[in-house]
Amino acid sequence: MRLSRLHINGFKSFPDRAELSFDDGVTAIVGPNGCGKSNVVDAITWVLGEQSAKSLRGERMEDIIFNGSDARKPTQSAEVRLRLANVAQVGMTVPVEPGLEIVDLDPAVPPAEGENGQLPLVTRDVEIGRRLYRSGESEYLIDGEVCRLRDVHDLLMDSGLGVKAYAVIEQGKIGQILSSRPAERRSLIEEAA
């Protein structure tokens, strides 16, 4: 499964609609200090369900709604949508791709038909979305339909996006791995186990 497209609208320093497409391989985001690069990362972790405003550098979740600038008024809401491609259909087993070892498969169940342990597979594209209004109301969406946070969470768990702790390294945080306490390092390993 892979990321396909990201839409940002009203989130942090993006008052206007903005869109990024992701291909395979490496996407680089560049630009001067303060122009909004880390805000793009925040948008991705936010739509994937980040619940802590502090992890997004805010004091309260409302801080992630565009707050205005010299020339612009604040927006009334923030919306981010992330399109995912080749997502394993919820309820089906995840494919064993060469080189990709999925260790949470039940080893007692042997791979079914197909070579290289490839299981017959149903995948689809799916778009998860999240909105926050200044009133405090917030919505989660799957393919444009309002749903609960838990539905988004389940979808992500099944598609292998559930473990976040080491798929994102935030700015300035690389040093913390070595200065963290032994117990915290253990939980890094436990999360992967």
Partner: protein, 151 residues
């Protein structure tokens, strides 16, 4: 899950020995359970010895060496349990050119199974991008995305 942890620990440790020596061009590294008697709860220590140097407390390593060691560990975990994508925000900031070169080579080795999204100010890192987005703020306070297609 005690076995799952033990299995994960063993594999990640083995991966770490490899990623570290690849990023450092030598040396040795590993993970150690602090309390061997109590594997169920024991914390984990990181052992790291750059090539030619004596083994010391990792805190004595330089800023760049610590970043490379932490990256080696992250990639070791990643190879055990790959995520479809990986977001790295300016992790090349403390690195000199030679280390950025080795970091970038390791990314290139992993990118066929993983989408990498990198934020960087560094030219060497930008060069391996298949796709480049520039973010600008011509209007103060308002971010704008510009796509720069490469390859």
């Amino acid at each position: 899950t005690r076995e799952r942890f033990a299995e994960a620990f063993a594999q990640i440790n083995a991966n770490f020995e490899v990623t570290f020596t690849t990023l450092f061009g030598g040396g040795k590294a590993g993970l150690v359970l602090i309390d061997q008697e109590n594997q169920v709860e024991s914390g984990i220590d990181i052992i790291a010895q750059p090539p030619g140097k004596r083994l010391q407390n990792v805190q004595l390593l330089s800023g760049g060496e610590k970043a490379m060691t932490a990256m080696a560990l992250m990639f070791a975990i990643f190879k055990f349990r790959p995520s479809p994508f990986c977001l790295l925000d300016e992790i090349d900031a403390p690195l000199d050119d030679a280390n950025i070169g080795r970091f970038v080579e390791m990314l290139q080795g992993m990118q066929s199974h993983t989408q990498f999204i990198l934020i960087t100010h560094n030219r060497k890192t930008m060069e391996i991008a298949d796709r480049l987005y520039g973010v600008t703020m011509e209007e103060p306070g308002v971010s704008k995305l510009i796509s720069v297609q490469m390859n």
